[in-house]
Amino acid sequence: MIFLVTFDWGWLLAALLLGFAMGWIAVVHRGHGVSKPLARWLAVLVAALLAAALARAVPGRPGYWLDLGLSMLGLYLIGCLIGSLLRNWVLPGPADAS
């Protein structure tokens, strides 16, 4: 894991920043959200992929790509969380009423 961070830190940082931006926007976004059942399915899918990655079940390059994708996704979500919380804390706006 440490190797992955040191080797692909640029991409991971990009995912984190993308997440931060998305999280920042999401607070005032007016579009449709992901429905609850879909969110559940997505969660199951991610959990399954995570399990496959941890079990090292996918061999070779796809295995590396899975590790990379999950790492980027994780950092993206962290970025989103930080972005949303920060936006909400720094700029409480009228959007909150919606």
């Binding site: 440490i2 190797f3 992955l4 080797f7 692909d8 991409w11 990009a14 995912a15 993308l18 997440g19 931006a21 998305m22 999280g23 999401a26 607070v27 976004h29 579009g31 959200g33 992901v34 429905s35 969110a39 090292r56 061999p59 070779g60 390059r61 796809p62 295995g63 590396y64 790509w65 590790d67 990379l68 994708g69 980027m72 996704l73 993206y76 979500l77 989103c80 969380l81 949303s84 909400n88 409480p92 009228p94 909150d96 009423a97």
Partner: protein, 476 residues
């Protein structure tokens, strides 16, 4: 409008449900990252894995990296080696899985290693136990052989006997001594074949093989050596005896030169011998009598080729051929073969008594007929001189000859008289045995009354103890 519910669970759920649009660029980013980083990552891991394997002894190792998974194909020299190779790669940071495709180096049974020398190169074939040994042997071959090309075709294999390295190095050290040939180790048996570069090479190699490590033995040593040559040429015109070729050591050298000077009364010994190992067993015991046979020839050549003795030339008279052939056959050690090709020198023109006397005096002036100490038996080393006396006697068939024995001043009168007469008689017997009529000779003992030198020193006394030939015109 900020209230506590804004920070509640529901607000977070609401926001997070709207995070999804970012997943599209994220996916693009991921694809780009996968596209660009995979190859450098694989290169990096391959480099690290190779570095990690440095301390592990492997043959034919190949590292293939796919993503973060490393496949190791290699021949290991032990189970322990296999495990440590896998562990070394597993310990490389970033490696996720290791596919173990290692196997043990095949075992060779029997374990055969050989070095073959031909005209242009030395080829190493068979099995080597370890890369280090393989490299060491190749290096040793280069060092031992100087500029000769060395080709290493050995494969690595398990199953080498203990002490293999030392045995192989010892055998390699023998290869420079071969002109061509092969040295082989088959398990703990050592075999050698081929032709030694120099005389004595066979012996040097056999001596070196005594230092083989414990457990090794020589199964076959078929090294041949160039023939051992020794030659002697009697030249009656230049009055030389030329010795060429080889003698085994300095003692044999001295013995042969001394024997030659004793046996050839008129010839000067030209010594071109050199000392070389590899003489056939019993060489000196064969060379000395063979030189004796050569001395009895007027002109002749003696050639030793290993155990074959070739004597050719001209005897001084008929009877000598049979005698020297019989004597030499008796005296040569059993393993030596005699090839005598001896003819008789054409008889010289007859001369009158005066010339005959002159010829006898000349001969006896050059050499002295020798006897065994205090006895009347002829010394075989005087055969050359005696045969020349026979030849001369044959040239004056009408002359009567007194063979006179003379003594030095030592001893009582009876002895001084008796021994020279017996000795003179022995000479007459020799002449008669050679085919001359006994009636032409009279053996006379003269005591010490006609010294030719002073009797007060050993040298003078030796000159006074002598045989003289006195020619008398035969009464018609």
């Amino acid at each position: 409008m900020r209230d506590s519910t804004n920070f509640g669970k529901w607000a977070l759920v609401r926001w997070s449900s709207k995070w999804w649009p970012g997943a599209i660029p994220l996916a693009a980013l991921w694809a780009l990252a996968a596209w660009t980083s995979t190859a450098p990552l694989e290169t990096e891991l391959a480099g690290r894995s190779t570095a990690g394997l440095k301390s592990v002894l492997l043959d034919k190792s190949q590292i293939a990296v796919s993503g973060r998974d490393v496949t190791l194909v290699a021949d290991a020299f032990s189970e322990e080696g296999r495990h440590s190779a896998i562990a070394a790669i597993e310990a490389v940071p970033g490696v996720r899985l290791v596919n173990d495709e290692t196997r043990l180096v095949p075992a060779a049974s029997p374990f055969v290693w050989s070095a073959e020398r031909d005209v242009v190169r030395v080829t190493l074939t068979g099995s080597s136990p370890m890369p280090a040994t393989k490299a060491k042997l190749l290096q040793a071959a280069h060092a031992d052989l100087g500029g000769v090309e060395v080709v290493d075709q050995t494969n690595l294999a398990r199953g080498a006997p203990a002490g293999f390295d030392e045995a192989a190095l010892l055998l390699l050290a023998q290869v420079p001594k071969l002109k061509d040939g092969k040295v082989t180790i088959t398990d703990t048996k050592v075999g050698l074949s081929g032709m030694a570069r120099e005389l004595g090479g066979r012996e040097t190699i056999a001596a070196a093989l005594k230092n083989l490590p414990a457990g090794f033995s020589v199964a076959a040593n078929d090294i041949k050596a160039p023939p051992y040559i020794f030659q002697a040429y009697k030249d009656p015109v230049a009055l030389t005896l030329t010795l060429t070729g080889n003698v085994p050591d300095s003692n044999a050298h001295a013995a042969i030169v001394a024997a030659a000077s004793r046996k050839f009364f008129a010839e000067k010994v030209v010594d071109n011998l050199k000392i070389s190992l590899g003489a056939p067993y019993g060489f000196i015991n064969a060379a000395v009598p063979a030189l004796g046979a050569l001395s009895r020839l007027s002109t002749g050549t003696l050639v030793f080729t290993d155990r074959e003795v070739k004597l050719s030339g001209d005897a001084l008279y008929d009877g000598a051929i049979g005698q020297l052939r019989a004597n030499l056959t008796r005296e040569l050690p059993q393993s030596f073969q005699l090839k005598a090709d001896v003819t008789v020198k054409p008889a010289a023109a007859p001369v009158d008594a005066t010339v005959c006397q002159q010829l006898f005096s000349e001969l006896l002036g050059k050499g002295t007929i020798r006897f065994e100490p205090k006895r009347s038996s002829l010394d075989p080393d005087s055969a050359d001189l005696l045969d020349h006396l026979v030849e001369t006697a044959l040239r004056c068939p009408t002359a009567h000859i007194d063979v006179a024995g003379r003594a030095d001043a030592d001893g009582d009168n009876a002895t001084k008289q008796a021994l020279p007469e017996k000795r003179a008689q022995a000479v007459v017997d020799y002449l008669v045995k050679a085919g001359l009529p006994a009636s032409r000779f009279t053996a006379v003992g003269y005591g010490s009354n006609q010294p030719v030198a002073a009797n007060d020193n050993d040298e003078g006394k030796a000159r006074n103890r002598r045989i003289e030939f006195i020619v008398k015109e035969q009464q018609p």
